[in-house]
Amino acid sequence: MEGFAVELDGVSKSYSNFEAVRDIKLKIRRGEFFSILGPSGSGKTTILRLIAGLLYPDKGSIRLMGEDVTFVPAYKRNVGMVFQDLALFPHLNVFENVAYGLKVRKTPEEEIKRKVKECLEIVNLDPEKFGKRKINQLSGGQQQRVAIARALAIEPSVLLLDEPLGSLDLKLRQHMMSELKRIQKTVKTTLVYVTHDQSEALIMSDRIAVINQGSLEQIGTPAEIYENPATKFVAEFIGEMNFIPAEVYNGGLISEIGYIKVSNLNGAKRVLVAIRPEKIKIGCRNLDNVYNAVVEEVAYVGGFLSVKARINDFCLKCLTSSDLRVEENQKVELGWRADDAIIFEA
């Protein structure tokens, strides 16, 4: 399978009083698990609705499987969508819900039966047991599965999921996440997953697009986005991050905590030094940057210690193995390698 499943080229969409998305360029590969990640109101659902054909863009073009579909209505696109509120048909039973897309395509009865059974089995719902049930007789997790099966039944060219796990509790959510991965491997479809939950996106995706205020901030694999955030927003939104304001001085940086050695500087005069809590080592001397600090707070978070340490008047969050023994008010030395810090313009 060559080429891209979804291509957005310079897509913008405004509502009456604000611009929901601005100049989005995306290429989603066939068979990829692609996440669109951003805070609520960032325009990620709008992007999904544009791909589905439930909205048309003001500017730009949209291609599905290489074909221009910019103004093709939703019902001609063959795109599967799982809605945030699931949008199951309350007047139909489970079988009829899954069969709906095939019925309106005038698929033969026998074929429908076979296909619905297959799709329910893919999502691990027993067709015999659940087929006749009404939607309101199902648990939240089961409804989720029906919504996925319904979208899969039409053999969509892309499967779009709009925060489908938001309403589930943590345990069920984790379970459904691995289920989704399994389902995607089984049906080998392209999957576009919209979420505001960074851990969902990091765990499941092949690639992630981070959206903020209608604009694309960065596209990359989970590792790229975590290790090398392109913007301050991405650095802040994904994972935990310490930001230290600093000024360039003599090829290095001067800040409230002292002199900071960094590996590369980009012309700016005032910068932010970003360092992940887990990159800060406590009680280690052979590092590029070492400081004297006082431990302010220690919290045990299952296997790890979350430590708040103060250098002069500046607080840093550190994450360290719980083997280490630190106590509040203890004086420690902490530091990091120059390569581990990321520099943003202030």
Binding site: G53, R105, R150
Partner: protein, 242 residues
């Protein structure tokens, strides 16, 4: 203490109704249906019955169509327009009725079947709107979107998804609209003309003079049963939905 009071109040509410119904089946200490038989022999009553029925059916039909489409159009999105439909319900009926009468007089609109029907529709539209609007969930929009992404066009979506989902609300609204129209008195009496009589007008023409009669009891019982039957259907539909 409080239980005794509750019992007394319910007796106060229901004894008169039970009394009318019971006395319409009694003639000189014997149980009889002769008062009902007499009703159907009276051509005036039979004609009024048909008048009431046709007004109720037609006003239900038109108000359900207009009111349901309006409810669907707004789907809890536009409060300002919604209040347009609430006014007819809070306004005392008598002021609405006499306004209509003046309106018809000004246009020299002939008073009778059509003037009554048009008035009933206006009132019922508001009720239908509120009931259907209350029962349509705002989730309907995304359910329709789901249908579109599954390959159904707008018309198929409307027929296969929107209409069936709205149906329980529409049926409930129809039952209430029919009931309101069926035993409406005030609007009818102000907007009717010579020669057009409905059952409530017939009851009024005799009872207004304070006269109680067995045949009037029977007629009241008959109308009561129709209303209660509609209420029963309504309850049945409402509980089924849950």
């Amino acid at each position: 203490m409080i239980r005794f009071l509750v019992l007394l109040i319910f007796m106060f509410l229901y004894i008169p109704i039970v009394y009318v119904v019971a006395s319409s089946f009694i003639d000189g200490g014997e149980i009889t249906t002769k008062w009902f038989v007499k009703l159907f022999e009276d051509r005036d009553i039979v004609r009024s019955f048909y008048n009431s029925l046709s007004i109720a059916l037609l006003s239900t039909l038109f108000s359900v169509i207009l009111g349901s489409f309006a409810a669907y159009a707004f789907l809890k999105t536009n409060k300002r327009f919604e209040s347009l439909f609430y006014t007819p319900i809070v306004i005392p009926e008598i002021t609405e009725a006499l306004s209509l009468l003046l309106f018809y007089r000004l246009l020299s609109f002939p008073l009778g079947f059509y003037s009554v029907l048009l008035g009933h529709i206006a009132f019922n539209i508001a009720f239908v709107f509120i009931i259907v609007n209350a029962r349509l969930s705002s989730q309907l929009r995304s359910i329709e979107d789901a249908s579109l992404t599954l390959g159904a066009d707008e018309v198929q979506t409307f027929l296969r998804v929107t209409v069936p989902i709205a149906m329980p609300g529409i049926i409930a609204a129809s039952l209430i609209a029919f009931t309101l129209s069926w035993d409406n008195f005030i609007k009818t009496v102000f907007t009717t003309g010579p020669g057009f009589q409905t059952l409530p007008l017939l009851i009024w023409s005799q009872a207004a003079r304070g006269v109680v009669s067995p045949s009037l009891n029977a007629l009241t019982t008959l109308m009561l049963f129709v209303s209660l039957f509609l209420a029963y259907l309504y309850a049945k539909i409402s509980t089924k939905r849950e």
